[in-house]
Symmetry: C2
């Protein structure tokens, strides 16, 4: 190097490029901002006024804040390979807010962390616009985030992203599965596909069976890339509508987001320890991508252990509320299915 | 592969190992939990009761929630190289909560995202214990997080981590620099070293000058590894003490966390656009690591553009409050220094 001076830019980080990037993502953020977001241009933080609900009324008697952190796992690698980044942004929001609503919380805001090899504004902007779209679907504000250029940690073209969401629920209306009782009914909402779990296995199948993302497979009726990269469905508005339909008392006793670990592990998280849930797996038809993956070498039991198998979100509701819950969901264009029932037990989920 | 079935474990992800890991981090989380954290074993979310302050009183009239997201950049790579992970956990919390307090917010809770090549419990547990220690130093709860095994995105032994913090401030007490006025005084708090910014440049210097992390350099009086990996100082308790010393009216007009972009960029974020800040860089003595890096080939101007240069946090205070603010800080064992003054201007920071 002789006596040439070392600069930050030489080391692979361009402070000026970063400033341009921050400017460009402002628009993606601002379209998600309602009246509760306080502007603080150039500040260190994002500010969100809790005092009033979206409608301007004082909303919470005993507010409990709810926080979730999640990423989209190795689905990012498939998205990079297929050059489909917009959907990954939706996935990131979905993985967080679908967890958040399980306790009955209204999502308030979202922050993202994006770590990249190099700030390549065009394609990464698509990603952030996906995050922004996800926030609109979830009715929450994209309040801020962090973008880090780390050329020595991430390979060229690679990136990782993590998301974080905060919501609020009145303590008396928080749902934790403790009131789940024998006789309660399990109502499932269809998933849009694989969502964002199990992608190391999806990629293993693609690789070992030499499948091609760009190819239309007859069993799928679309390209494999379209099937496996379809964004995760965001259930927030449907869930809040169900909860909002009952003014004083919970319409549902428990809720589960079917994420890593499948129906088995996740429905178990929504139960009390003195109940089992019996799920009738013939009650719904999974999207064709699941039969496709199974036909390419994944055992049926493993499929259920890793993937959502077509049900992305589960309500547990007392029998007397089932008709109304189903009605609210159908009114929103959802296609709810009764998938099982709760009986006396030990907190297990039995798939039949 | 013949007819052998493909499993999730084959693809590099071990659901059972993940369950063991989740158990082990419970202790690190629980020691940070005060009475405001609601237990929800096995749930999808972390719950935090906002209604009362830490002392049990109703604490907020018009609560504004504040959110921050940040990582520790390529300091992770040095930490991995030197096998010092505990401090990186503290760094992660510090980078978030030091941003959070600049608007006057009390940090409430923290969540982390850890993405790894392989869940190697021993060393990663050290990291999470560092996060837990950071949360104790900041007085906030480690409410949850996500650990993702992504063998195809991260190289063996590599990982990345991101953090998210949420705080709250009463709207009337939020600090945004709008009241910064000519004549106000800049009070700096010493940094513990490089903190967590500029590590791509630090690593470039180490690499191009063939420096060794394990070697004691005379100018440093310790190993280079100790000097560059010292954890970021957490300023939360000192900042909240300064703000708490004034019941009704703000003791300070603006605050800055000196993070990426150095004194210049960060103090500018704490000013109103009708003021300049003039900083006297001879007012304090930077820790020896800065002269060391400069002597190994970084231009002085670039040093100030990238690093904190010994001042990690800056208060802007009206002249009449300076004595009391300094007194509160000294009473906590801090060593505050008057580093400059505000004059009429255009939002610039002038280093002298």
């Amino acid at each position: 190097m002789g006596s040439a001076k070392l600069s930050y830019k030489d080391s692979g980080v361009d402070i000026d490029a970063n400033a341009v990037w921050v400017d460009r993502i402002q628009a993606a953020m601002q379209r998600t901002h309602g009246p509760r977001v306080l502007s603080q241009a150039g500040g260190f933080t994002g500010l969100f006024r809790l005092g009033t609900g979206g409608d301007g009324k004082k909303a919470y008697r005993n507010p409990v804040l709810v926080g979730c952190a999640d990423g989209v796992g190795t689905k990012v690698l498939l998205g990079i390979q297929a050059k489909r980044l917009f959907g990954l942004g939706i996935d990131l929001v979905a993985m967080n807010v679908n967890d958040l609503v399980t306790c009955g919380a209204e999502p308030l805001f979202f922050l993202d962390y994006l770590a990249v090899n190099k700030l390549d504004s065009e394609s990464l902007l698509e990603l952030i616009e996906g995050v922004s779209e996800g926030c609109l679907q979830a009715g929450c504000a994209l309040l801020g985030g962090e973008t880090a250029e780390m050329p020595d940690l991430y390979r060229r073209g690679d990136f990782d992203l993590a998301g974080f969401s905060v919501g609020v629920v009145d303590e008396k209306r928080a749902i934790d599965g403790r009131s789940v009782s024998p006789g309660d009914v399990l109502i499932g909402l269809p998933s849009s596909g694989v969502h964002s779990n199990g992608y190391s296995l999806v990629r293993k199948v693609i690789q070992s069976k030499r499948l091609r993302l760009g190819k239309v497979y007859e069993e799928l009726g679309e390209t494999l890339g379209e099937a496996v990269l379809r964004p995760t469905k965001i259930y927030v508005k449907s869930v809040l509508a169900v909860l909002g339909a009952y003014a004083s008392r919970a319409s549902v006793s428990g809720m589960a987001h079917v994420t890593g670990g499948g129906l088995d592990e996740n429905v178990a998280r929504a139960l009390s320890k003195r109940c089992d849930a019996v799920v009738d797996t013939s009650a719904w038809s999974p999207p064709p991508i699941f039969a496709f993956l199974e036909s390419h070498g994944v055992a049926r039991e493993e499929m259920f252990r890793v993937f959502n198998m077509g049900i992305g979100y589960v309500f547990v509701a007392p029998e007397r509320n089932v008709k109304r819950v189903m009605g609210v969901l159908e009114g929103l264009g959802e296609a709810p299915v009764v998938i099982g029932r709760v009986k006396r037990g030990k907190g297990r989920v039995i798939l039949r």
